[in-house]
Subunit: 170 residues, 2 copies
Amino acid sequence: MGIMGHNFETVESTLFRHGMSRLGAAVNIVTTRAVDGPCGFTASAVCSVSDTPATLLACINRTNSCFPAFETARFFCVNTLAPNHEALSNLFGGKTAMTERFATGSWVEGKTGAPVLEDALVSFECELAHVVDQGTHRVLFGRVLGLSAGGNQEALLYCARRYLKVGVPS
Amino acid sequence: MGIMGHNFETVESTLFRHGMSRLGAAVNIVTTRAVDGPCGFTASAVCSVSDTPATLLACINRTNSCFPAFETARFFCVNTLAPNHEALSNLFGGKTAMTERFATGSWVEGKTGAPVLEDALVSFECELAHVVDQGTHRVLFGRVLGLSAGGNQEALLYCARRYLKVGVPS
C-alpha cells in the first residue's frame, strides 16, 4: 500500500536490537526525585536536541519501575558517566531497589531537587518540556536549567554490548 | 514562579554545547531521496526509541540545507559510520553541494529509495512515523523497515570534539 505500492513491515525486534547494538553511545543515569525518594535508571538513549533553548531528550521504557516517578516529575537530571561508574551503570540498569541504588556513588541534591552524581562527566538538570510516546517508550524532552561538568577526564561509552573508556581533554 | 517558587533560566547555548561535547555518540549520515536527488547530512543526535515496533529518532536543524527535503520525505535512512568514513562525515557535515557529497562513498538505492551507504557499520531504512519540533530542531521518528549490518568491524565514534574508532566484534 502507499505511494510506491509497497507493503513494508517493520523489522523484527531481535534484528533491530542487534543493529542498534552497533550504535555506540554515552552511558547515563537519568534521575528524578519522586514523592517517596530518589529514582533513577541507566540510559544510553539520550541526545542533544537544540542549543536554543538548551534542550535534550531521554527515552524511558514505560514498563520501567521508574516510569511512574518520571510520569509525574517536573524535573529530571541526566548524569553522563565516567569509566569509574561502570558498576553504578549496571546497578541502575538492573532490578535493585531504589534506596540501594543511591547508596552507591556520591549523590547530591541539585537545584531542581533531582539527584546529581557529584563526579559525573557532566550533569544536565532539566525541566520537563514535552513528552512523546512511541512504541514501548516515552521520550522526555528537557530544558536544561543547570549544567555541571566535573573534573572527570574520561568518558564511559557503550558499543557492541561492551563498555569502553575514552579520554576527554578539558 | 512555579511550584517551588524558583525562577530558573535555561543555560546559555555555549555552555550547553560545551557540556554536550562530553556526551560521546556514534556518527551517522541521515539520507533521503528528494525530488531533485539524494540529500543527506551528518548527525550524532540519533538514538533508539523502541524495539516494538522498531523505532529510532534523528534530530535535524530546521535551518539545515537538507531540511526542506526531510520536511516532505516519507522515507529516510540512518547510516552509522565506520572509521574509514571520517572524511565522509566531514563532507556531509559541511557546506558541499549534495551532488558532490554523494560522489564520495559507495551509495546504493535502498528499498525505500533513500540512499544507503554500502559499507556502513549498520543502516536503518525508515518510514517517517512522527515529528516533533523543539527549539531549533525537528525530531524525526522512523519505523525501521530495513536493516543491513555490513562487514565493517569497527565503529566511528565522536566524543570531546574528536573522532575515535572502536572494534565491533560480530
